[in-house]
């Protein structure tokens, strides 16, 4: 019974919710919290940056809306509070801006608005530029062969050298890695920083960027372009006329070439879906645990305290897991991109 005081304290804390059952009054009139709607709203893109709400009043940052009407061809710059008359937010199409054409139909104009995801990407870019330019200044002032950096610059050097040596040089190959190392490092740091910034609950963080399939689609397209536009003759030969027995590649059907051709598209597709699904699922779980707290308090004080305690611990655990997942997903994307780029210039080898 050495720790009897700690044990008794834990028991008191754990049984605390039960004590407020005695003094509970039933709350009437509130509609329940719609958790799926709240979660999807935070995961989706929006024309404003919503910060908080209190008793029906919302505090949000209105973001610029830039649309080009397809009827008249003129550009409109406004915010969502001052949308001109012929445009409206089409609720059937997830709140996107549509235009009432003069002949009665509705049509989607050219929409180049600065939405929440775009603003979040710009914030991440500003963070990355600040970090890397200030680290580069250290290298201008010191001779890097004589002394090693310490502190923040040392941490950045560790990360950059890990991607440069273990990923780019090792997987792309000694001969060609210099052309692709900038792309690979950009991709890694962009995805890593965007994932981390998405975990911060308040402005200027919290935008769901990599959990948006359009953004991971673009990153996968970049990798596909880097792989296929730099493939040499050996690469295309290994896809369309590999060194396999003839019955697999020509007659009765070109099996291996078709499989390899489909593989050109499925490999970036896998990159896209892996990053998107991991990030969206992580954000959805964290948002759900946060909503459980509000659900508990709306059901009464006892449930409130109990669910608050449980949810707080689960949120701590989930956020730590998500920090790990942020790094791992960025690293895996970069690793696989490097592997594909390395495979696009295979060394010529055949049985002589």
């Amino acid at each position: 019974m050495k720790h009897i005081k700690s044990i008794l304290l834990l028991v008191v804390v754990a049984l605390l919710p039960l004590s407020s059952f005695a003094s509970e009054e039933k709350k009437e009139g509130g509609e329940g919290i719609n958790i799926p709607e709240i979660v999807l709203e935070h995961l989706a893109d929006a024309y404003e940056w919503h910060i908080c709400s209190y008793e029906g009043k919302h505090l949000s940052i209105p973001l610029p809306i830039i649309v080009r009407s397809s009827a008249t061809g003129e550009w409109t710059f406004c915010t969502e509070h001052s949308l001109p008359q012929n445009f409206f937010f089409n609720q059937e199409k997830h709140g996107k801006i549509y235009e009432n054409m003069p002949d009665g139909t509705v049509e989607r104009p050219l929409d180049l608005s600065i939405t929440k995801s775009v603003a979040q990407i710009w914030i991440v870019v500003a963070i990355l530029i600040t970090i890397f330019l200030s680290c580069a200044r250290w290298y201008k002032k010191h001779d890097c062969k004589q002394e090693a950096p310490s502190g923040f610059v040392g941490c950045m050097e560790m990360l950059v050298m890990m991607i440069h040596d273990d990923v780019a040089k090792a997987l792309v190959g000694e001969a060609y890695y210099r052309r692709y190392a900038p792309y690979l490092m950009t991709v890694f740091f962009f995805i890593f920083t965007t994932n981390l910034v998405g975990l911060i609950p308040i402005f200027p963080g919290g935008g769901n960027v990599t959990g948006n399939i359009n953004i991971t689609f673009f990153l996968a397209i970049c990798t596909m372009i880097a792989v296929n536009f730099n493939g040499n003759k050996e690469y295309w030969k290994e896809i369309f006329w590999p060194e396999v027995p003839l019955f697999l590649k020509a007659y009765p059907a070109p099996l291996i070439p078709v499989i390899e051709l489909v593989g050109i598209f499925t490999k970036p597709f896998a990159l896209m879906v892996r990053l998107f699904a991991n990030m969206m699922a992580g954000h959805a779980v964290i948002l759900s645990f946060t909503c459980i707290i509000f659900l508990g308090w709306s059901m009464g004080t006892a449930y409130g305290i109990g669910l608050n305690l449980f949810s707080g611990l689960m949120l701590l655990f989930m956020n730590l897991v998500e920090v790990l997942v942020a790094f791992v997903q960025a690293y895996v994307f970069t690793l696989l991109s490097a592997v594909f780029i390395g495979l696009s210039r295979p060394a010529h080898h055949h049985a002589e």
Binding site: V273, R274, A277, Q329
Partner: protein, 78 residues
Amino acid sequence: MISSLLLDGIAAMGCGLGAGLATIGAGLGIGKIGGNAMDAIARQPEASSTIMTNMILTAAFVEGVALFAVVACAFLIK
């Protein structure tokens, strides 16, 4: 009318079943990876950091595959 309700119900059940089976696959796969990693660390404790790095990497791949199925099922639920 009953048959259309039944069809909607069966469709939704199909989506849920798909996501659940994919999760079973992910659990088995990652469990096997973890188990083999534990055996390897027990055999050679000084290589444990290399083994752990590779284990986390491979787990990310397996989890990616399971999440394909979850995403596909989520898009199919109306």
